[in-house]
Amino acid sequence: MALLNFIPDWLLTHGPAFLMALPLIMAAITSILPNKRVAWASTFIVTAILTITAFALALYNAEVGTTVYKMGGWAPPHGISLVVDALSAPVLVLIALMSFVTVIYALPATVAEIKPNKRAPFYAAFLLCVAGLLGMVITGDAFNVFVFLEVSSISTYVLVAMGAARDRRALSAAYNYLILGSIGATFFVIGIGFLYMETGTLNMADMARILADLDGGSRVAKVAFGFIIIGLGLKLAMFPLHTWLPGAYAYSPTPVTAFLASTATKAALYLLLRFTFFVFDPSYAYVADVLMYVLVGMGVFGMVFASLQAIFQTDARRMLAFSSVAQVGYMLLGIGIATTASVGAGYLHLINHAVIKGGLFLALGAMWYRFGITRTEDFKGLGQTMPWTMGAFTILGLSLIGVPFTAGFVSKINLAGAAAGAGWWWAVGIIMLTSILALVYIGRLLLLAYFQSPPTINGVVVERNEAPLTMLVPMWALALGSIFIGVESDAVVGASIRAAELLLGTG
């Protein structure tokens, strides 16, 4: 590809190591930088470089196929390998891009929400979180996944707790997240321990090979799989294990909510894909059972019940948080059906939902920034007072519902098609039903915003007060991105199908 000619060779060769090392190092440096714009500028530059690197690696991957970087020159399976393949490359791009978008938005948002002496540590924690997420996606070593999972989780607890300057409930939300997140990560590491007992290796490709030789392995491998599913289920907010999520999303600083909603659960979902289809294989009876009964079951329950809960929320961010749990259900349904088309659709929804939900939370953040809006009833007249913000919110909200020519439509139609193709007609019905539920909770806000006049405070009608440009640009970029995916869906759909083919070995 022509674009690749502009990328230096060393970046393509050492890009994988660069992706996780740069934010790690810069997190340490950023924490001691002056609190004002310097810390922001350094974070901005780092995330911009990460985005370019991730894009370059993804393009390179599309051209030459899977690349394995040997960390420190130690060959796998003994050394740690960093793997860029069709599955990890799009998620890397997604995380880097969303961190970049969030950082632009964070410039005004942190001024409003974070105490001045905490801003540099805020950006340091943010970079640590980015490093952890990128690391857990790119690494080919199972224990390394745990380490990066914890790097990202621990920095996330700190980021969520920083919302305490705005709302004290952020503290108890962060505490709950810490307890449940740590239990999840510990379950995961127990699972890795059992897998190591079974296979004697930590390299995921090597594990996959040995497990295949053992024909799925003994009871130890089954127990390992159970622990890994529960651990990741906690991290990705699988339906009954989602209780940490609404609080963490609702009370953390607004840039953190947008970043978490679009990346943290998605990286955990990526790991779920990696473990169920790559390390383990759906051809083992116990994996097939878990896919069929646990992932599909919990996915469907999550879609219905979390959507219903979203309808009855009075806090707009809690509402979108429950909607996130419901959307995770779509992805789990796609993964659980376990055909190439359905896994591709689940993966596609992972990417699309990250763009949509990230943008929606950015718009909500801008509304808080101008008017202190958190409750749904405060949406009255926002169509007049914040037309541009509300415009982006509308586009992204319609995309969440699944209106044609938006990203949400593309992934839902693909998922419904895949379910129908596998003969799961009842699942198509559930997808329709939950889309209607999404229409109810998003439509409720849109009705308030466009068909009610702005409220009157102290006898004065609230006047138009648009969000600053640094907030509008990121949210419109995501809104237009979701339309772009809806109209020109070939690139993203192609990438998701390639990822599914890699996972199911049907390429």
Partner: protein, 159 residues
């Protein structure tokens, strides 16, 4: 029953794990929950170290020039072949296949060292959060915090 005694370390792991997990879910005091979490994580450390132990094995220490420094409990070599170590220009040999030393697997120890650091970090963040919660809510009992939040919710958050 004798199987339970011969595998006593697994029994300890399971007891610790369940004790920790139960404490996390059952107690409503923030500090007690963190203590339970710590016990839960500690059980995993023990599990990993159990994985690494080879019965009769010695500590995995590099042997210079490949000279042996001991034998296993039966007094003879059980393994064949050598592992060259990259460090020291190949002058060190890991007691492994070929040396007459049976050694414990060092890898789980290294792994769990990382996990211990992670556990300490989690615990310290948890304690710091508890301090902040105590400052803001003047309590560390979850029931009272929820009660205060409930009242706070009713009053609304918009200023």
């Amino acid at each position: 029953m004798s199987e339970l005694f011969s595998q006593y370390n697994y029994v300890i792991v399971i007891i610790l794990m369940m004790t920790g997990l139960y404490t996390v879910f059952a107690s409503r005091n923030l500090i007690k929950k963190l203590a339970g979490l710590s016990v839960f994580q500690t059980s995993v450390f023990l599990l990993y170290i159990t994985i690494g132990k080879v019965s009769g094995g010695q500590p995995p220490i590099l042997v210079e020039g490949g000279a042996s420094y001991g034998t296993d409990v039966d007094g003879h070599a059980l393994l064949e072949g050598t592992i060259q170590v990259a460090a020291g220009g190949g002058s060190y040999i890991l007691p492994g296949p070929g040396s007459d030393v049976l050694y414990s697997n060092p890898l789980p120890h290294v792994l769990i060292l990382t996990a211990i650091v992670v556990g300490v970090a989690t615990l310290s963040i948890g304690l710091a959060l508890t301090v902040r919660i105590r400052e803001v809510y003047h309590t560390i009992e979850e029931d009272e915090i929820e009660e205060k939040d409930f009242i706070y919710n009713l009053e609304g958050t918009a200023d």
